[in-house]
């Protein structure tokens, strides 16, 4: 009853959020328009309203813009100057003489309001029911820099920035092809957010595109903060620990995924883009896998999968063995574990939880702190975890090794989201192990496996080359085959054009 009442409550009208739509058309009276603008943008000191007489037509006009986000220099040079000083007799009299590329006309207040907030300047002309919108935005932005989270050895050293148009440019730079299409969608009522879905029209599956578009259009919220928020709105299973959409800040990786037949959603104001549909193995690949030689890349990739298993199951296995199944430990190890565990006052699961939680806290503390203090955290953590805790008899030596191995194994996963997911999954496993030993771990593993099999990403199977089994896709799974051996796109993306290369392997001298 408690739950049902709480969740069946219908939202009252006052809780439905305002649509903020300013109805109405602009008037032909200039003064009326100015009054309207001032009433809409009250308490907005950076709003500039400049009256002028257009030399070309000798009519009264008003130029309106927000000085903080509009580019003052281009307004002076390309709007104000031509309007004030050029008579423009040699040109067609219809259009006003402005040296800008992007000019729109608007009649509704809704359009004008949005344009002003996007950094445009608006020209109201006396006795005209149309206003001119000159696109002159100048938002503060960051220069293109090296990637910070997904660093790479041999990949490109360019990361996405917070400007959507620039991010699109970075992808276009990689794919010079007219089939690279962009679908634009706006999301968010208050903080309107421009989304662009990039894909190859002759490769990517239109059904998946429709699904993606539909999900994005269904998002009806006040504001979407960044790509991560959007991903959470559109992902398939919100109750899964695994990420079902891949966020990346690497243009080269995003472009590579587009070429595989996937969709990249560029979110304005966010330095990462959303790649979908993805499969589980996407989170274990880096761009370096493709730029290093295939044997090295395969070895490292196998280590990542190994690390994945270690990070989930090692602490649980430790608990299970110490608590239930000490028989499986070889005799000599048993004696050394026994003597190191002897002084520990806690049962193994409490010991493990203390250490694992300490590790997680240390890791989190290290991320947010400024770099200089971050080092201190490392030292403190190293001494506290590594030495003092053991000497004080709170945790055993073996536990420290287990925790350290787990940490290293979870850091080897190249994708941050997946790494975090693994760290979360570890804890239920530890609880199961402390209750039921190996049987608990096996049950946990079965649940995880069942969940993994049913998981989808944008309606395509998440575990693709493994479950459903698609042997031909295994060329780029655990072992990365040489590039010339991979001639087809992965089946998991449901691409409509599968072949991407012809047989390219060259043997010996060709000439």
């Amino acid at each position: 009853m408690l739950f049902s009442r709480r969740y069946s409550k219908k939202p009252s009208p006052s809780q439905q959020f305002n649509d903020f739509v300013h109805q109405g058309q602009i008037s032909s009276d200039l003064m009326e328009n100015i009054t309207e603008i001032q009433s809409v943008f009250c308490d907005t000191p950076d709003l500039i309203i400049r009256s002028l007489v257009i030399k070309q037509t000798q009519s009264q006009a008003v130029l309106v813009y927000l000085s903080s986000i509009a580019d003052s220099k281009s307004i002076f040079n390309h709007v104000l100057h031509p309007l004030l000083f050029e008579d423009g007799q040699d040109i067609n009299t219809e259009a006003l003489n402005v040296s800008l590329g992007h000019i729109k006309k608007a009649t509704s207040w809704q359009q004008i309001e949005r344009a002003i907030l996007n950094g445009a300047c608006i020209l109201f002309v006396e006795k005209q029911t149309e206003a001119y919108i000159y696109d002159t935005p100048d938002f503060p932005k960051r220069a293109i820099e090296d990637t910070t989270i997904e660093s790479s050895l041999t990949g490109a050293h360019i990361g996405f920035t917070e400007t959507g148009s620039e991010n699109i440019a970075l992808i276009r730079k990689q794919i010079h092809n007219r089939e690279l299409k962009i679908k634009e969608i706006t999301v968010g009522k208050r903080g309107q957010l421009q989304l662009s879905i990039l894909y190859l029209a002759d490769v990517a599956n239109p059904d998946v595109l429709r699904e993606l578009e539909y999900r994005i259009q269904k998002v009806n919220v006040d504001s979407v903060l960044n790509a991560g928020v959007l991903a959470e709105y559109i992902e398939d299973n919100p109750y899964s620990p695994f990420p079902q959409l891949l966020l990346t800040e690497r243009p080269d990786y995003a472009a590579a995924e587009i070429l595989q037949g996937r969709f990249v959603t560029v979110v304005d104001r966010s330095p990462s883009v959303i790649i979908g549909p993805v499969t589980f193995d996407s989170f274990f690949k880096t761009i370096d896998d493709y730029s290093s030689r295939w044997m090295v890349a395969s070895f490292i990739r196998l280590m990542r999968y190994f690390g994945f298993i270690i990070a989930i199951f090692l602490p649980a296995t430790y608990i299970a063995i110490i608590t239930f199944h000490f028989e499986v430990i070889p005799l000599k190890l048993l004696l050394s574990i026994g003597s190191s565990r002897e002084q520990i006052p806690f049962p193994p699961y409490i010991e493990a939880f203390i250490m694992e939680l300490t590790l997680e806290m240390l890791r989190e503390a290290g991320i947010r702190l400024p770099a200089k203090i971050g080092q201190t955290v490392g030292i403190v953590g190293g001494i506290v975890i590594g030495q003092a805790a053991v000497e004080a008899g709170i945790v055993s030596n073996i536990m420290v090794i287990v925790v350290a191995l787990t940490a290293v194994a979870s850091f080897i996963i190249p994708n941050y989201e997946m790494g975090s997911a693994i760290r979360i999954v570890r804890f239920p496993m530890m609880i199961l192990a402390s209750f039921f030993g190996f049987i608990g771990i096996i049950v946990g593993f079965m649940i995880l496996l069942a969940h993994f099999i049913e998981l989808e990403s944008l309606g395509t199977p998440y575990g693709s080359p493994i479950a459903p089994l698609k042997i031909s896709d295994w060329k780029d799974l655990f072992i990365r085959f040489p590039q010339w051996a991979i001639e087809r796109r992965p089946l998991g993306t449901k691409a409509i054009q599968m072949k991407k290369a012809n047989a390219n392997h060259q043997k010996g001298d060709q000439q």
Binding site: Y7, T323, S339, E342
Partner: protein, 371 residues
């Protein structure tokens, strides 16, 4: 939503309930590593047990108890009364059986719980102690690791070097119930040190009959075709008139590798015939006498003759005692089933009347790095 919350709640409760059972961290257990079974002078069953002590304050790192009990399982309650933690049998490395126990028929049934209780480790080494078990189990030498580790290592090492038979609980069980084979167990003795001295040969019902020395065991293992690593033998060349003097100048050491031991089984004239064809590659590793004393072809014959006499001695011992540690009964059953079935119950006797021939073929592969 409501249903989901309730089901999660129930799962948590069930988990907590069913896990109240036994989960004891390993440091709180008394993990027996040696189990001893012996008889005292009044023929009372003596069970002893030895387990490691993890506590740093304890001066000794091993605790050993010995007591009278009706059965092995019965002894646990007395051990629990003595030891710090719960006594558990899951990690027993070595089962010591006193020779005195083996002298009585039907001793094997005392080990019933070892097989019936699934928590017992089936890999436990079974070792016979010539003398009282307590002397071995309470022995704490300064220059050796803990006794369980030491005994396990000694047996394992000798097994790898083809000096003792495989002897864990599983193998013993099979040998006891296999009609075409009699059990063999390694034997240790406590003199100044605890040392491995060879194997004991048991009758079909488990009763002690005879023992083999270390070197004899090696030959037995070749007959069983269970040779592991290179096998080293030092043999006196007996043809020399002089006895070798203080420096044993008639000794020859050889490394035997690549042994092929084949048996063919026949039944003729009312008895079994087993023909062994053993071929082995030999490397001379030590030769005390000068080269010119024996020619190479002659040397080969001498070695063959010497080895053959050793094999025959063992076979004689086996037939005399009416036992079958080699497992020739398994061959007989495989190839001469009808005849074997007739004598199955008295296989030892049938084997003692059968004819076992050995033809040996050695190949001297190398004579070492010096002339």
């Amino acid at each position: 939503m409501k249903r989901r919350c309730i089901s999660i709640f129930v799962i948590v409760l069930v988990a907590l309930l069913s896990s109240c059972g036994r989960n004891i961290p390993l440091e709180d257990l008394t993990i027996s590593l040696i189990l001893g079974v012996d008889l005292d002078d009044e023929m009372n069953l003596i069970i002893s047990e030895s387990s490691p002590v993890f506590n740093e304050d304890a001066k000794k790192n091993i605790e050993t108890y010995q007591l009278k009990a009706a059965t092995i399982r019965d002894s646990r309650k007395y051990f629990d009364a003595l030891a710090t933690g719960e006594v558990t049998a899951a990690k027993i490395q070595v089962l010591l059986i006193g020779k005195r126990v083996l002298e009585h028929e039907g001793w094997f049934s005392i080990l019933d719980t070892v097989y019936r209780n699934p928590s017992f480790s089936i890999n436990t080494k079974v070792i016979v102690v010539d003398g009282p078990v307590s002397e071995v189990i309470f022995y704490e030498p300064d220059d050796k690791p803990q006794m369980p580790l030491y005994l396990k290592e000694v047996i394992d090492k000798n097994y790898i070097r083809t000096r003792t038979v495989e002897s864990n609980l599983q193998v013993l069980h099979r040998q006891m119930y296999e009609k075409g084979m009699t059990p063999t167990l390694p034997k240790i003795i406590k003199e100044n040190d605890v040392k491995f001295v060879g194997v004991v040969l048991l009758e079909e019902n488990g009763k002690y009959v005879d023992a083999l020395s270390i070197q004899e065991t090696s030959f037995l293992l070749i007959l069983m075709d269970k040779q592991k690593q290179e096998l080293t033998l030092s043999i006196p060349i007996t043809t020399f008139t002089d006895e070798g003097g203080i420096f044993n100048k008639n000794m020859l050491s050889i490394d035997i590798s690549k042994v092929k031991s084949k048996v063919t089984t026949n039944y003729k004239q009312g008895k079994f015939h087993f023909n062994y064809k053993i071929s082995m590659t030999v490397n001379i590793i030590e030769r005390i006498f000068p080269k010119d004393k024996v020619k190479e072809a002659e040397l080969k014959k001498l070695i063959e003759k010497e080895l053959l006499s050793r094999f025959e001695a063992i076979i004689e011992k086996i037939q005399e005692n009416k036992i079958d540690p080699i497992g020739l009964g398994i061959y007989a059953r495989a190839f001469q089933y009808e005849q074997y079935k007739k004598v199955e119950k008295q296989w030892g006797e049938a084997l003692s009347e059968s004819n076992i021939d050995i033809s040996l073929d050695i190949d001297i592969n190398g004579t070492g790095a010096i002339k």
